[in-house]
């Protein structure tokens, strides 16, 4: 939400001489709540452009709803489910962020470079981690890596002892795609159980939210590689400017913008840049505005983004490694920057299947 606000503030709330009015609504990662909130914004508050929502199944639900409102333009927030733009895409739903699968491209190769020949996957059991695991495994399996066990755990699980007991002795690393409190819980329990295998993280496993965790166990994260659309230590000037702007606007925020802040920023910036390009012209069912969005090459703090034929972003992925700086803060060092990652992970669209519990598979 700070990211979206930042994009508006950078323009002082004015685009093409008109004031942008931002109306906010709240959801709780549940698709029904998100659709209710969206319906209120669109039908009651009469917004012209809708930016959001946050999580995967919310995104799918809001995309379905967007089909019933053809005169409003919907731009994704941070939801990263593949099906949102791959399966029955909606003509007025745009996503300027890459999805969960794209965020992991390059990580398979990086893991093999680290010498991890066999890994176990531990991930939450819903669409977003499926796509993350797919992004990792597509490349990893093709290059000869093996994944003998995949453990799908319920979202918000507290007890990982049964999963930890299932970790085979002969795997070289654990691919952990857990978010927020789940990741912290898992790390605690894994260390208490005497685990010492190196970790490979999902995009939200080692986001700023978790690196800022104040517990003693966080040192175990050092050396973890991960794939993400964001890297704190990225050296490019546009990223530095973005971070400085973020800190200036939100002095009580995180030391570095989180993935969600960045992604909301990108999508909100796309909405505003598009508006600017058409000089605020939203007539004719916003046709001109949408055409502009479709063709736009968006400048973001992490590189250029353009859209494919399903209005899904083709963009940059970073491979990062967690290291400790002089003050003891953890941060993600950039190992590699991969540009122009597309949604089908480089495969022809006909061959590409949406990730699931069993897809892909290489035991």
């Amino acid at each position: 939400m700070r990211g979206a606000e930042l994009a508006v503030r950078q323009r002082n709330g004015v685009v093409a001489g008109r004031k942008i009015e931002v109306i906010k609504a709240s959801s709780d990662a549940k698709p029904d709540v998100a659709v209710n909130a969206t319906r209120k914004l669109v039908e009651q508050d009469k917004v012209d452009i809708m930016v959001g929502p946050l999580s995967g199944s919310e995104g799918i639900a809001v995309k379905e709803y967007s089909k019933t409102q053809p005169t409003i333009t919907f731009i994704n927030g941070s939801s990263g489910a593949q099906a949102t733009t791959l399966a029955s895409p909606s003509p007025n739903f745009f996503r300027f962020n890459t999805d969960g699968g794209q965020w992991m491209v390059g990580l398979g190769k990086a893991a093999l470079d680290k010498g991890y020949k066999r890994v176990m996957v531990i991930a939450e059991d819903y669409a977003f981690p499926y796509s993350q695991v797919q992004g990792f495994m597509t490349e990893y399996c093709k290059l000869g890596g093996k994944v003998p066990v995949k453990a799908w755990v319920p979202l918000g699980g507290k007890d990982y002892s049964s999963v930890i007991a299932r970790i085979p002795k002969d795997v070289d690393a654990l691919v952990v795609v857990l978010g927020g409190a789940d990741a912290v819980n898992f790390l605690n329990q894994y260390e208490q159980a005497g685990g010492d295998k190196p970790l490979v993280g999902g995009s939200i496993t080692v986001s700023q939210d978790i690196l800022n965790y104040k517990g003693k166990r966080r040192d175990s994260l050092v050396g973890t590689i991960a794939g993400a659309p964001i890297a704190d230590a990225y050296e490019a000037p546009e990223w530095k400017t973005f971070v400085a702007d973020y800190k200036k606007n939100f002095p009580d925020g995180y030391p570095s913008p989180s993935l969600f802040a960045l992604v909301y920023y990108i999508n909100m910036k796309a909405a505003l840049d598009g508006l600017d390009a058409v000089k605020g012209d939203l007539t004719d069912g916003q046709k001109k505005y949408r055409d502009t969005l479709t063709k736009m090459v968006l400048k973001t703090p992490v590189g250029d983004v353009k859209l494919d034929s399903n209005r899904q972003a083709i963009g940059t992925t970073f491979i990062t490694e967690v290291v400790k700086d002089g003050q003891g803060n953890l941060y993600n060092k950039v190992l590699q920057k991969i540009d122009n990652v597309n949604q089908t992970l480089g495969m022809p669209p006909a061959e590409f299947k949406i990730g699931s519990r069993d897809e892909p598979n290489c035991p």
Binding site: S26, D32, N36, K40, E43, S57, D125, A127, P154
Partner: protein, 385 residues
């Protein structure tokens, strides 16, 4: 049995709220009159007025208000009505009503069509709905059968336990319930050229079901079954001594409430277009209780009043105050209503009409209101014996 219990058991006069003893007609005069009127409760002007407003509502409301406020409140009200019936007339507070509703929704998705992995059998919608409701009612009767042996807070605990167990079953079972993602795209059918999920048709669909549910409950409370149920609420021991099968009556009440919750659940699933474990999580179990208590348990209409207030707050509290604090407004409003009224919104209504009648020396209309309250239910949800 304590002395107080004994006195209560011997007390022939039904307990009433808001009407001090000695006011209103004596019970002895009322009994034959009430019996004669049991099946011919007269329709009054304000009934017709409310009905007219409800029917005309989509014509002056925007699609948003028709669908998200109107239809949602009616569907939620129907689910809450099942709790109002159980708690207000049966003295049993079940937190598992949303579980029954969610089960019906899941069954419709499983036997009918849904665009998700896991089982969807793709049977015709009417068959799926019938099967869904039957299974949900059986489950409701099962829940009732398990929990009727308990009283008061233990009923709450056991139904909460069942509700939470079902939540985790739905969350962790992938073969049938499809886990965290639940069932997506569960839509009402296309029938007679109308897509029943469009705002106005869906509103009338929920209105028809809600009205039917309301009338069924109002009617039931006047039947021998309903009277016996209220007797059991007030004093199960005495009803047992009179030869009533207390357990059977209570289980039957759970089954009846199950029908209401199941129909409401199917509507609510269609409203959302999906059913996920989140729809049957503890949040919603409690929300149904909040709706029922907010409206008031003394009369079936309370469930719908509560639902309207609840839905309005959910949607518009965010406009009153900052995005980060709007849950505070919702909480404060609930607190104020419950704190200042012993029986939700209906309690305020009763207090208001009681005051009006003392000022005017009692109009016939308020006298009728009081009589119908006294007859239909008592405020105390928990059985005191």
């Amino acid at each position: 049995m304590s002395a107080a219990d004994w006195r209560r058991a011997m007390n022939l006069q039904p307990r009433r709220l808001g009407v001090p003893p000695g006011r209103g007609p004596a019970p002895a005069d009322r009994a034959p009159q009430a019996r004669a009127r049991r099946f011919t409760n007269p329709v009054r002007v304000h009934h017709l007025l409310v009905l007219a407003v409800l029917l005309a509502y989509p014509w002056f409301a925007t699609p948003f208000f028709t669908y998200q406020i109107g239809a949602q409140a009616l569907a939620l009200g129907l689910i809450a009505l099942s709790l109002t019936f159980l708690a207000g007339s049966g003295g049993m507070i079940s937190l598992a009503q949303m579980t029954v509703a969610g089960l019906a929704g899941y069954m419709v998705a499983i036997f009918g069509t849904a665009a998700t992995d896991g089982v969807t059998l793709g049977w015709p919608w009417w068959l799926a709905v019938i099967i869904g409701i039957v299974i949900a009612v059986l489950a409701a009767a099962g829940i009732g059968w398990l929990s009727v042996r308990t009283e008061g807070i233990y009923t709450i605990m056991i139904t909460l336990a069942i509700g939470v167990a079902f939540y985790y079953l739905a969350l962790q079972n992938y073969a049938v319930f499809n886990g965290f993602q639940g069932k997506q795209k569960v839509f009402p059918p296309m029938l007679w050229g109308i897509f029943w999920r469009d705002a106005t048709p869906f509103y009338y669909l929920t209105l028809a079901c809600a009205l039917a549910g309301y009338l069924v409950v109002v009617y039931l409370l006047r039947t021998p079954f309903g009277i016996a149920l209220q007797g059991i609420r007030d004093n199960p021991r005495r009803m047992h001594a009179l030869g009533f099968n207390v357990t059977a009556h209570r289980v039957a009440a759970y089954a009846v409430a199950g029908v209401l919750a199941a129909v409401g659940g199917v509507l609510f699933t269609w409203y959302n277009g999906l059913v996920t474990p989140g729809s049957v999580g503890t949040g919603w179990l409690i929300n149904i209780l909040v709706i029922a208590v907010l409206g008031g348990l003394r009369h079936p209409v309370g469930a719908f009043l509560g639902a309207i207030v609840f839905v309005l707050l959910q949607n518009f509290a965010i406009d009153v105050i900052d995005r980060e604090r709007f849950n505070l407004v919702i909480g404060v409003v609930f607190l104020v209503i419950v704190l200042f009224s012993r029986d939700g919104l209906l309690g305020w209504w009763a207090a208001l009409s009681a005051r009006m009648s003392t000022q005017r020396g009692g109009s016939p209309w308020t006298a009728v209101r009081k009589r119908s309250y006294a007859r239909s239910s008592s405020p105390s949800p928990s059985s005191p014996s």
